[in-house]
Amino acid sequence: MQVVSLRSDAHAESEPLSGRKPASAMIEIDHVSQRFQTSGKQSHLALSDINLTIEDGAFVSILGPSGCGKSTLLYIVGGFVQPTDGVAKVKGKAITGPGPDRGPVFQEFALFPWKNVLGNVMYGMRQQGMKKSEADARGRKLLEMVGLKGYENFYPKELSGGMKQRVAIARTLAYDPAVLLMDEPFGALDAHTRTRLQNDLLDIWDTQRKTVLFVTHSVEEAVYLSDKVIVMSRSPGSIKEIVDIDLPRPRKRADLLLDARFQKYIVDIEKMIDDGKDHL
C-alpha cells in the first residue's frame, strides 16, 4: 500500500487549484435507482434515476432534506449497498463491493469498541499489511492532526461524540483512500471544533488530492468546503440541482463570511431546499 505522507512533507507538491491536472472522472453514477422493500408488500423508492459524475480530486457536497437518500447514495458508492438499477463506477470500473480506495466515515462513527483510540486508527493500516512500528507512528501523527494527542490509550466509550468522530476520520484517513465518503461527519460537533476540523479537512484534501463526497445539513458548510454542491429532493430521492461554487481557494472562513458571493450562494441554495419543501 502506498501511503501519502501527511501534510508537512506533502506541501511541496500542492499547487493552487487552477494548476490541477485536467480532471478525469473518479466516480460516475449512471441511472442509479434504489428501491427498498418496506414492511409488507410495499416498497419505497429511496433514489430515483441519479446521474452524476465526480471528477478526480473534487470536493462535492450533498445537501437535502432528511430521508432524501443522501446516505444511501454514499453507501452505493462505498459498495455497501448494491443499487437496484443502474451502475456506479469508480475510476471507470463498476463498483461491486467495498474497497480500500473508498474510505467511509459514517454518521454513527462505527468505531471498534474493543480497540483503544490508537488501535482503531492503526486497524486499517495493519489490515493492509503495514508494519506495526510504521502504523503506530503514522497513527500517532494522524491523532495529533485531529487534535487527539494524549488520548491514544482511551477506549471509545471514554470519548465524547466529537472525539469519536475525530477518531473515525483519522481511522479512515489512515489507510489513505483515494475517495473519502463522509456522512455528516461534523454534525455532532460544537461550532468551534467544527470550524477547526473543516479547515483541517480542507488542508488534507488540498495536500493529498483526495476526492471527497461529503453529506451535510449545513448549507454554509457545504458552500465553504465544496467545488460543487448537489441539492437533492425527496420522494423519490433525486438530484434537484447542482451548483458550482466558484470561490477562490485557499478559502478563509473569516474572509468568506464577509464575501457577498459566498452569502449569495448560501441564500440561493437555501431557497432551493425550501422550494422542495413546498411540494411535500
Partner: protein, 260 residues
Amino acid sequence: MTVRGVLKTLSPLFACIGLLCVWQIASLRLDTESFPTALESIKAIPSILGDKGSLLNILDSIRRMTIGLVLAVMFAIPLGLLMGRIKAVAAFFNPLMMIIYPVPKAALMPIIMLWMGVGDVSKILVIFLGVSLPIIYHAFQGSKAVEEKMLWSGAAMGMSAPMRMLRIVLPAALPEILTGCRTGLVLALITMITSEMIARQSGAGNILFNSLDMAQYDTVFAMILIIGAMGIIFDAAFEKLRLSLVRWSQPRDDMPLSFT
C-alpha cells in the same frame, strides 16, 4: 478503602457465615441424625480432601467438566456467531435448538449410557450438551447485534468475510459470549454432578450418593459444601477473567454481581 468498601467486599463472607449459623442452630434444634450441624460437616471436609481416593474422584470430576466445557465452547461459539450473521445457518439450526432446549440434558443420560456406557464419554457428552445451548444462544445474540457499519468499515479496509467474522464479529460479541460462558460454567458443574448421580462409577457426585447410601450424613453435607465452594471459586475466577477481557465494554460504575 472506606468502611463501606470493606463492608462491600466482605459482604459475601458475611452471607456465608450467616447461612452457616442458621444451619448450625436449625440442626441443633431438630437434632436428627440425618441433619448434622454445620460444624460437624465442616470438620468432615479435611478427611475427604485428605483421602487420596476421594481427592482423585473429585479431580476426575473436574477433568470431565473441563473437557465438556472446552468442547462446548469450541463448538458453540463459532456456531452461534455464524447463526447470527448468516440467515441460512440460523434457519437450519434454530428449529433444532428449539427442540433440544427444553429437554433436561440429564434426562438423556440413560439413553446415552445405553449407547456409550457409563464411562467418561457419556458424562462428557451430557456436560457438552448442557453447556452448549446457552453459549450458542448468547453468541447468536451477540453476533446478531454487531453494528453493520462496523462490518462495513472492516470491508472498506479490505477485510474478507471470514476475516471480519474473526476480527470484528467475535470481539464485538465477546461480552455477550462471555455472559453465556458464565452460565455455561455453572451448568457444567450441575450436569457434572447429575451425570455422576446417574452413572455412579466415580466422581464427586458418586462420593456424595455413596455416603448417603451408607448413612454417613456428615460426609454428605461436607461434599455439598465442597461442591458449592467449587462452584463459587470457579465462578469468581471466571468473572475475574471475563472482566479483564471486556473491560472496554463495561459501563463505568458497574455493580459487579459476584464475588470479585
